[in-house]
Symmetry: C2
Subunit: 346 residues, 2 copies
């Protein structure tokens, strides 16, 4: 490996002093055209690129924003990250992504150490899940930081998606259609109870409806399908509220596998408004969340924190219910709900 040229090499080759090269680099004034030309030529010949590390050291602000998340490729995460990256790039920052795969101390600390070893301007933690929550706990408070989340929490400045309210709205809508209760399939929650589940429960209680036990799915749509299979054989199920659209689609598929028709036999509601939700047949009723905007807001908040403002602000976004074709009143013939008189179907 050839040693890469440094500013001194350029200076020597161009026959000028090091500061002069530096001036050309930052296209400052006060350099004669002739010297500038010589320097530029030398830079070109040598293929010189200034050392970012040295520049960062010399009192220039770091231009790196780190995003820490439990996941990067699922719809909501990916879109939030896109929003962050877009805003950050416009402001001259680049963004790094670090995944925290689990919430045990070792995994979390290892990931965090990696991040902190970089020259950081700030950190955005996506705490939609347990690893995110754990990461937030272990980050040193000295560094500018904001959280993005579905549940309000004190401590850090935060951009909040008010999932609970929106979930409650969706459930109330279903109840209003005439369903006696609404079953709930949740995705891995950020803590004991996340916003979607909390909103679901609240709405049910508020109306005095039975609260069926929660059914757990993974992030994989296929797990929704399996759950759909089970639900199809439980005659007390007339409406299902799912933790996200991908799971909802899996559930609909599972229901169809067992001969159930959505929404005639069973209504299904998702969460997120995934781009494919409206392509599905029937188009999925869901809760639209503007993740992209969430990301933009997270950047804005971080920007405020980085400028040294004492921000205790919480930006809250309210997702909106989008009614499409996967929901309808229960079938006249369908059984009223009593806790569990399950007649095995088929």
């Amino acid at each position: 490996m050839v040693k890469r040229p440094v500013i001194k090499d350029v200076a020597r080759k161009a026959g000028v002093s090091v500061p002069t090269v530096s001036r050309v680099l930052r296209d400052a004034q006060y350099v004669s055209d002739e010297k500038r030309a010589r320097v530029l030529e030398a830079i070109d010949d040598l293929g010189f690129r200034p050392s970012a590390a040295a520049r960062a050291l010399v009192s220039r602000e770091p231009k790196l924003i780190a995003v820490i998340a439990g996941n990067t490729s699922r719809y909501g995460y990916a879109e939030t990250i896109r929003g962050i990256e877009e805003s950050a790039r416009a402001a001259g920052y680049i963004v790094s992504i670090t995944v925290v795969e689990a919430s045990d101390d070792q995994t979390v600390d290892r990931a965090i150490k990696l991040v902190l070893d970089q020259p950081l301007a700030g950190v955005i933690v996506l705490k939609f899940d347990p690893p995110g929550v754990a990461a937030l706990r272990r980050l040193p408070p000295s560094i500018p930081m904001v959280a993005v989340s579905g549940v309000r929490e004190n401590g850090v400045p935060q951009v909040l998606m008010d999932e609970a309210d929106a979930a409650a709205e969706a459930v109330l809508y279903l109840l209003g259609l005439g369903h006696n209760t609404v079953h709930h399939v949740r995705v891995p929650p950020s803590r004991k109870e996340d916003g979607r589940t909390a909103g679901w429960r609240r709405a049910l209680r508020q109306r005095g409806a039975t609260v069926p036990s929660v059914i757990d799915a993974t992030w994989d749509p296929a797990s929704g399908r399996d759950i759909g299979h089970q639900l199809a054989s439980d005659s007390s199920v007339t409406a299902v509220f799912c933790g996200n659209d991908e799971i909802a689609i899996g559930v609909m598929r599972g229901l169809a596998d067992r001969g159930k028709t959505v929404p005639r036999d069973i209504s299904v509601v998702g969460f997120d408004d995934h781009p494919l939700a409206q392509m599905w047949i029937p188009a999925l009723t869901t809760v639209n969340q503007n993740f992209h905007k969430l990301g933009e807001q997270a950047y804005e908040l971080l920007d405020a924190v980085m400028s040294g403002e004492q921000v205790h602000r919480h930006i809250t976004q309210r997702p909106t219910l989008v009614i499409r074709d996967s929901t309808a009143p229960p079938r006249p013939g369908s059984k009223p709900t009593s806790p569990k008189p399950t007649t095995p179907a088929t």
Copy 2:
């Protein structure tokens, strides 16, 4: 803003020299337990964190890998990035993501400048689209770099998904089912002709089938739906090969809107094997691409380049056709397309 503490402050507070603090920081040997304890305490009191910039400068080993891409949140991109991040993190690197939104010089250069201003260990360019291709062109050759792509190209070490072959296989499969020709809806191509389109064309020619004109979609599934509407009214269409699964799903939806049944009336094939492809009704026949592995391989290749090996290697991955329920022989009643008076199979 309070000045953040530096190593000198810690040394003073602990009553030791600067290098001793440095030793504790890098948990080296040769520090007495007593001094170590004092240093640790001072670090804690002051909330000291070593400057990553200074470390990078002196130890000369940047730990940042930059990914440059035209997009981050679409399925293939997001999964590839996930693969890269996972491998990189395991090796102690963190990865940054920079989106190049368009392929004009100004946009590309602005994004690239941002990236190069960081202390970089290497760069991975996702050149699935024109911005990616443009970015690759404008990156200085001095920096360790690999490309990830769907079309072979010389110059940079590259991880290749052999899309053309796989696309041809899918089209030949459709032809073998008895379709006279296969229409093609493509996603924004990486260049004049990308691998999927090239493979489609090749297969059609190889069998002497008519080559219909290409239909262009955007990345948005809704554009597929619009196209589905058009296709439904063209009686020569019996099979459609789509540039990706999201578009294929949109197309199926559009077809259904117009009363067409898949696969009875029209067969549809996608590309990627998106997690939702198999949830669809009918489950989508598609081409499985292991994007996550692609990302892992990209990191491995970059690692080799960073170690100074003169790599000219191209890693090639062959996607595989996954036959599901969205494809079938053409309907007996469907019109034959001129050049080939084929006997419709049943």
